[in-house]
Amino acid sequence: MSAKIVARAAEKRFQTRQGWMTALHDFDLEVAEGEFLCLVGPSGCGKSTFLRILAGLDHATGGEVRITPGPDPKQPLANVVFQEYAVFPWKTVLANVAFGLEMRGLSRAAREATARRWVDKVALTRFVDYYPAQLSGGMKQRVSIARALANDPQVLLMDEPLGALDAQTRAVLQEELLQLWEESRKTVLYVTHSIDEAVFLGDRVVVMTAHPGTLKTVIEVDLPRPRDLGVMATPAFAALTGAVWEALRDEVRRAMAEQA
């Protein structure tokens, strides 16, 4: 199978007042078409940086980072599910979800029909004309997910999308997210701090080293799909999270020692 996302010896350096700072160093990664890949690593190791490069919001300073374009040139390459506070407060739920389609010049009728479908899928039908200020955090996060999915990108990028939510809302949205993904089987790159979440969602979990970030280990998650939250109670799940934590522990220690 061809790799959808390829990073080879990727490097990102930032110019700061103290001089050059290497955020990402010699980073190699391949993500297969249709794979759900989770990225974990200590704080400050360059996860967001890598994701921003993929999203076209930043550039690598060395090596190669690319997304292999699909057959349809009109299908957008990669869209980000931003955290809930990134939905536009000045647009209604419907207009937020239709945003990408509007930017691509679709007619009002066409984009609203698609957006409505996605609003239904994330269970916000009743709130379609509401403004974000009138929604809860979990509902706003659903809007953000629908906004990216409605645009039908080839790759979905998520940077701790559920990080700001309470544990219960988070669990519910994890399951909903998996259901939505099962329908389309898009390539997903998912950054998270939660080991449980990474193992529950991902086909593979990539652990990064502390700053400067490189690839440390890759853990294959062979849990059967479709999954529901029940899988978290199985011994296989515990073994996997244990393995991820094993790989992560020293890096987190190193990162904390460095920052202290």
Binding site: V80, W90, T92
Partner: protein, 366 residues
Amino acid sequence: MSVRRPERPARPQAEEAAGPRAKAGVAAWAIPLGVIALTLAAGFGLELWQGGWWALLAIVFVCVVLLAQELEPRLPLRYRGAYQRVLALGFPLALLLVWEWLAGSGVLNARWFPPPSQIAVALWELTVSYDRFNRSSLLGRPWLLPSMFAESGWAGVQALVRESHVWATLSRVLGGFVIGAVPGVLVGMVMGLNRTVRMMLDTTMSAIYVLPKIAIFPILMLVFPNPFGEGPKIAVVAISAFFLVAISTMAGVQGIDKVYLEAGRNFGANRAQMFRHVILPGALPIVFSGLRLALGTALIVIVAVEFVRADRGVGFMIFYYWQVLVTPRMYAALAVVMALGVALTALLQYVERRAMPWRRGSDGHG
């Protein structure tokens, strides 16, 4: 914009309140009432009003506040709205009544502080009468419009409009405001979006911003061919509005959360779309607070200008009736300025609500 205070904690259950708290409850009522009675008795009985009326009023005010605070949590929820309106409107009404009474009883000098009833009468007289000496009227005598139009057509209508003080001030404020605010928004947007332009203009703008704009009025009178015409007056309002609006628009554009810009970019917005869908709405709340400030300033500036150099306008009225010592009319003109301010602010708030429907119902922050 009203600030919502946190709700007081709910009263404890009735059983609990039966003991010492009940006594405290009675005291909370009885003490302020007693103090008010004592104060009034002292005021009338011992003739203390003359020297210490302001101290006695302050005591009564504090007691009324204490009583109202005792009363509020006991009111059923559905009366709370009415209660708030009673407080908001009752206070100014009480103020007017006290003023009326102080002026009437000679405690206040009625020559400088004429009672509100006299001011109301003066306002009515100004409205219906025509000032032959200044050849002007307050509103332009709109009831004469049909006959003037029949007599001399549009020229007649124009003559009526020209004699109106309110119209003179209103046209200067609105004209100057629009002429200043529209380019102010545009320049502010450019300054917010373009770093180079911002670095070049920011210091200069901030320096001019702190200059009281009325200070440049003499220059403007030199610049315009007719120094006593409308030109310099409208220009000084426009300049005041321009700098305020430009600087707050710039701040509004710069204050837009980066995450919205990135979302726009990630979903493929081009420059025009970015402006229309992200930057404009994102900056709008701060732009409007700049417009509100600019409107208030416009009113201040125009009244000051009309003090100095005008034969029409509410500022002129205030100054003129001060010079001829007809204080009730002077206060009436002040009331007109207040009414103008309230009306213009309400108009701007209406536009603001229409322009930013997403802020309706939410608390107005963010």
